[in-house]
């Protein structure tokens, strides 16, 4: 009898400890996509100063992030390319979008100012296919009657390593151009068909090569285009309007996204309807295990993500990311309540 009492006390004690463990004792480890790294590290820093929680995020790339969360070497993974619902179920993972960003074609053509050059998706695909090889091609001239385009060879610059940015960009091209879909396809790393194509490592590599190679065209995350003062282009969106890349047009694209009917939040935000929508937008995702081994860790993690959604928007916008809309945050939190369990019980945060 005495024994049982003692055990009951111990169990209750443990539960209390687990439930009320101060965040300061928990260290969270995450790994994955490099695109949101600047934001995640700022969020983690700010959150640390508020609560004392330590969060290490290694920006090793989306592929590495998926591999590490599957191997359970980290508490959460991050990927720019969402996993298909089937792959999520197989690995026992749940995924949710954390923040969105725009991918922007950038050019280096003498005499062309940022936003001046107008491109349509089909023309962009033809350039990356190598079908349009010169800047004074009739197709480019037809879109840009007022811009003086030189008779210069086009050099295509792409990411050499597998990357979420490439996934978003090639998905866009594959969605808009049947020829691209057939010849190249969409993926984190593809076989680039244009004969004059060179590769750069990372967003900064592509930005650097576009800057030094005259006649180059590439694609980067918006933040890199802005930081490096690069010549971005205007793109024709689904509504037929030419739009400039900026946070408002990214938000317009994101607002149209139909998250409700996207199981596992598997949703491509490319080519969304709406007159103001920027056509190449993607979300970056967090991956975590549905079945959490450590309740205190799970709680700390969800608390952190919840704080990011509710208090991190301003920081995100400062770094040119698009925060998730409120209705999506509500959906994500419903998913947490339904799917994330520790010891078979929902995690309170």
């Amino acid at each position: 009898m005495k024994k049982v009492t003692w055990m009951a006390v111990a169990v209750v004690g443990l539960m209390v400890l687990a439930g009320s463990a101060p965040a300061a004792n928990v260290t969270l480890n995450g790994a994955g996509a490099s695109f949101p790294y600047p934001l995640y590290s700022q969020w983690a820093h700010k959150y640390n100063s508020l609560t004392g929680l330590k969060l290490n995020y290694q920006s090793i790339g989306s592929g590495g992030g998926i591999a590490q969360i599957k191997a359970k070497t980290v508490d959460f993974g991050a990927s720019d390319a969402p996993l298909k619902p089937k792959a999520l179920d197989e690995a026992g993972l749940v995924q949710f979008p954390m923040v969105m960003g725009g991918v922007v074609p950038v050019v280096n053509v003498a005499g062309v100012a940022p936003g001046q050059l107008k491109l349509s998706g089909a023309v962009l695909a033809d350039i990356f296919l190598g079908k349009i090889a010169k800047w004074d091609d009739p197709a480019l001239k037809a879109l840009n009657p007022k811009v003086k385009l030189p008779s210069q060879a086009i050099t295509v610059v792409h990411r050499t390593e597998g990357s979420g940015t490439t996934f978003i960009f090639t998905s866009y091209l594959a969605g808009i151009s049947p020829a691209w879909k057939e010849q190249v396809g969409a993926g984190k790393s593809v076989k680039w068909p244009a004969p004059n194509s060179i590769g750069g490592k990372g967003n900064e590599g592509v930005a650097g090569q576009v800057k030094v190679v005259s006649g180059a065209v590439g694609y980067v995350e918006y933040a890199y285009a802005l930081q490096n003062k690069m010549t971005y282009v205007s793109l024709k969106n689904q509504a037929g309007k030419f739009v400039q890349p900026k946070i408002e047009t990214f938000q317009a694209a994101a607002a149209n996204a139909d998250w409700k009917n996207a199981p596992g939040y598997y949703l491509m935000l490319n080519n969304q309807p709406g007159e103001a929508s920027w056509p190449i937008v993607g979300a970056t995702y967090i991956l975590m295990h549905k079945d959490q081994a450590d309740a205190a860790k799970a709680q700390a993690m969800l608390k952190f993500f919840d704080w990011c959604y509710k208090h991190g928007s301003e920081m995100a916008e400062k770094l040119h990311y698009v925060p998730m809309p409120k209705n999506v945050v509500k959906m994500v939190e419903a998913t947490w309540a339904k799917e994330v369990k520790a010891g078979g019980k929902p995690v309170k945060y």
Binding site: G63, G64, S189, K191, S197, I198, K201, V212, V213
Partner: protein, 333 residues
Amino acid sequence: MGVGDSDPAPTLRDQKNFGLRTMAKSTPATSQGDYYFKWLTAAAALITPLIMAGIFLELVGHSLPSIKEFGFGFLISQNWNPVTEQFGAASSIFGTVMSTLIAMVIAVPLSIAIALFLVELAQPGVSKVVGAMIELLAAIPSIIYGMWGMFVFGPFMARHVQPLLQDTLGFLPLFQGPPMGLGMLTAGIILAFMILPFICAITRDVFLLVPNVVKESAHGMGATTWEVTYKVTIPYGLVGIIGALFLGLGRALGETMAVTFVIGNAHNISASLFAPGNSIASTLANEFTEATDLLYVSSLIELGLVLFIMTYLIQVLAQFMLRRMYKSWSVGL
């Protein structure tokens, strides 16, 4: 390599026996210490072949899926497509060989000329300063070469060197295509800058080892500086020079960071030196971290295996050539 031929140095075995005997007389306990010492050093020496064998076996083991899938075709196929999971190493092997070849063609004559100048012709003060600067060149990290190559040297090539080559030698297939500044030629030249200090420093030291007596007697017979260089200094140091060349070659084959920045990173074989290409090392640096599919990873590891074997064969060839030359050239050091 003993320096004096007339006065043969005592062999290693003589020295060892002598040492053991004297030690044994004074303190018997030391011989046991020597026993341990021998095994300690042997164990240390054993680490090298073990690491070699370990790396080789690991590479082979992890390459197996790709070897099974593509077989010998891996080496001759140019197709590198992660979407359809088709992988071929031809463009990477070609790029590795080509960029190294360009580097050697530029660096070898240059470094021998510099070494000769430093040893034979320059004022001692000049020689010291220039020599120190060349050694400093060897200390620059390769990423710096890469960044300088991409942001400074690449645009310079695109604006000045490549248009000039195109105007004068543009009829050759070697110099066709748009002058982008990044590509095989730029990579080769950057590599040349990187291996030059190594070849140059060793060649200089080799030339310094040529006994003054030999050179002076040649001068005494009325030989000009050119004749002394050509007929005495170079033949005397030839074995050492060849050794330096192979060291440079080995470094150029495996150089990663600098090449990755400037080679253009396209899986592509082109006759033009202006065209972007890739090397084995640059492909690994670029793609390894993000490769998740088994066949992709395996193909990358097989690329590593190819580089490993290439480097190994070159080292074996170097040893073989050095031994033959050492035998046939009695003037060796």
